[in-house]
Symmetry: C2
Subunit: 440 residues, 2 copies
């Protein structure tokens, strides 16, 4: 029986047109990260399973990992997120590294889920982290980088919203304002994390279950619901305003505003699923109703590196989801039409393959990207191929051209033809290249 | 107990200095591939296990794959080579694609082996393939691309040798010259593939076992040994010279020579491990005794795409091993010293974080890569960090500088200091950037 040509379920093949989009995205992300002094790193896609135990998101670990035994009996897991790996790497060279340390990466990750639009089993999550700064300056910078990436793609302020919360504030509220114990607090945080996926009545029903009867009688459920309704820090109960966590949040929002990031808002319902966050958390939402979900998220996780038995390193980071981001660009018409890299298609007229090698080599040495049709077919068939490949120029090389050192250059976009020397042809193509890259 | 900071056995962490090397390699490879009109693609790292059954290298499949069942009971394998995946992709769009099709990729692959120097469990194998050309022009081009990549790194002809053989010729020899049956032929090819790892006496002993007593009596073992000794096509038995496969080999060697590839040689012992090769095969060897092994290899595999139940597509391709290639560059002193991307380190003097934002933003908008020390430490500590990070320039920003709009720029390589406007600083840094990139 013939083999299937389908990729593994939930994973995507990247044909050149798909890869071109990914390369364009990554190169723009890279440019912004590097303009802020971030350096690229990477880690293996397989990690010892231990790395994911006791941290991160329980649901993912229990149900969504690709975990198996290698041929030597070691349990390994395909990475589901990059944060444990990068923490491991920093911990491994805790002493040698120079802080503040700024790192970014473009990991592919795997989760075993039912594939659906914008949620594949294999996906990419560009990660950006700053290590070694306990102050808010780091939180501000990380959000600034996220914002600068969006701006670099031409996004306007009204296209997206940056929602910000503080897990430190939430911890205070759980313990001192609602008087919940640790288990109740954890359950509550998970529940709030899911609240926007639930009907309000369903959410309140589940909320009741978190509190004890006496806590319910004392009105803590209402207190919480009231608190969660705040849309600005000015709306939260006055007794919470003096808390350090609240002050921090307020200063961060001010710092962002001073840097023209006017679309950052406080959202008390933002939790982020992962257990390791310790203070500021944030998510960037597409404001379009067609793609109303988080494109990225992150926050401060000061405790993770210490779990490797070294001194703690304060850390703030975030990650992008590639699929929601592409949807964002589509919805807001920010995706350009990307052309193939090849600039010229050489059509060989007659039996000149061997004699044409010199001219082709010269074109390449002058820096042009040249594909040669070596199929031996008739010129009109070769021309059709060039059109199908969407290559902007064609050069015809036959005996006469080689003798006279004048070549016919056809512009496939305009349909025009000109006769030129190779040097002249190269300069025409390079002009075209600069005009195209200026457009993108 | 604290978690281990070690990566999974046989896999490497890419700290920024490691990643920098990989990025540099890939960008140079990319440049050459694209100058020949090749387009980048990618496929998922997990493939259905079926894809690897009945093709490729038996030893790898039986003993060296990472194969497991997913949570839905499907058997999956982490890719061990890219050829099956790329064949699957081409077969999947057999009708729509425009031939000749030129594709390249930078896949990471996994094999379960005992890790040793230059052989990790995770490794990278840049792949380059041309689809749809049955003629030798494709074989020639593929070898030309491999050669152009080496040349682009500054390799001289005497640093490496391109060994070429024909599996089609070998098949003829097995069947018509040595009169072996199919099973004998397969065993023989595997044995020759391993011969350079064996003592000569051991090889001859095993060879005897492949032939039947009557075949041995007729002197076929000696005929084969004699044939395998040839170092040029002129040395092979005269009755083999007229075969089409031999003629092809001869023409290929001529075509390469005409393109200045003078270090291509015929090697009758070159087999390549994989079963799917159908004609020309080749490997590029480092000639240095310190790294005497194949850095890359490939050949023609015209039958693989048809195994997906579509019309066959003639194909030639090759792949690089990243570790042997880096060793090659090291041994021949072709590895430059790569500097971090960050160009300027901003040292904040005093409590100016908020007021300095404008100047920092301006630097970035003028296209400079700027890391800011937001640690709040004393300037001399910040300066030490810049030195440790190997960043070429430092700018000091304090109250006085912000007021006067004149900033102290320190060149950390030369130790010199100058006072300038931001515009002037940017042009100094850009000059430095162009000088450095010209050197690499």
């Amino acid at each position: 029986m013939a083999l299937s040509t389908q990729p593994y379920k939930g994973a995507r093949d990247f044909y050149p047109e798909d890869k071109r989009l990914q390369k364009w995205l990554f190169s723009k992300w890279r440019e912004v990260c590097e303009s802020f002094g971030y350096e690229e790193y990477d880690a293996p896609i397989l990690e010892p399973t231990d790395l994911y135990l006791s941290k991160g998101n329980e649901e993912i670990i229990a149900e969504q990992t690709y975990t198996f035994e290698d041929r030597g009996g070691r349990s390994v897991t395909i990475r589901t997120e990059m944060t444990p790996s990068v923490s491991r790497m920093v911990a491994g060279r805790r002493q040698e590294l120079a802080y503040p340390l700024r790192w970014y990466s473009f990991p592919n990750l795997w989760r075993y889920e039912r594939p659906q639009r914008g949620r594949q089993r294999e996906f990419w999550q560009p990660n950006v982290d700053i290590f070694g700064v306990a102050g808010l300056e780091a939180d501000q910078e990380i959000i600034q980088v996220a914002d600068a990436i969006l701006q670099s793609f031409g996004a306007k302020r009204e296209f997206y919203e940056i929602k910000i919360n503080s897990r430190a504030l939430m911890d205070k509220i759980v313990a001192d304002y609602l008087h919940l114990d640790k288990t109740q607090g954890e359950t509550l945080i998970r529940l709030i994390d899911r609240m926007h996926k639930l009907e309000r009545s369903e959410f309140i029903g589940l909320l009741d279950g978190v509190f004890s009867p006496s806590q319910r009688d004392e009105g803590y459920v209402e207190k919480l619901l009231n608190f969660l309704q705040a849309t600005a820090l000015t709306e939260i109960p006055v007794e919470l305003l003096e808390l350090e966590a609240t002050q921090n949040l307020a200063r961060l929002l001010e710092l962002l505003k001073a840097n023209e990031i006017t679309n950052a808002v406080y959202d008390p319902t933002l939790m982020r699923g992962f257990d390791y966050y310790t203070d500021i958390v944030f998510e960037v939402f597409d404001t379009s109703p067609e793609n109303n979900r988080a494109m990225m998220g992150g926050g401060r996780y000061d405790g993770l590196i210490a779990s490797f038995g070294v001194e703690p390193v304060p850390t703030v980071g975030f990650a992008w989801g590639d699929a929601p981001f592409v949807n964002f660009l589509e919805v807001h018409k920010l995706l350009p039409e990307l052309k193939p890299e090849t600039e010229v298609y050489v059509i060989l007229v007659g039996d000149v393959f061997e004699r044409a090698q010199g001219a082709i080599k010269e074109l390449r040495e002058m820096g042009v990207k040249v594909a040669v049709d070596i199929s031996g077919r008739k010129p009109d068939k070769q021309l059709k191929t060039a059109l199908k490949k969407d290559i902007p120029y064609v050069i015809f090389i036959g005996e006469k051209e080689l003798e006279e050192e004048q070549f016919k250059l056809k512009n496939l976009t305009l349909g025009t033809e000109e006769q030129h020397s190779l040097q002249r042809i190269v300069s025409i193509i390079k002009d075209h290249r600069h005009q195209s890259s200026a457009k993108v």
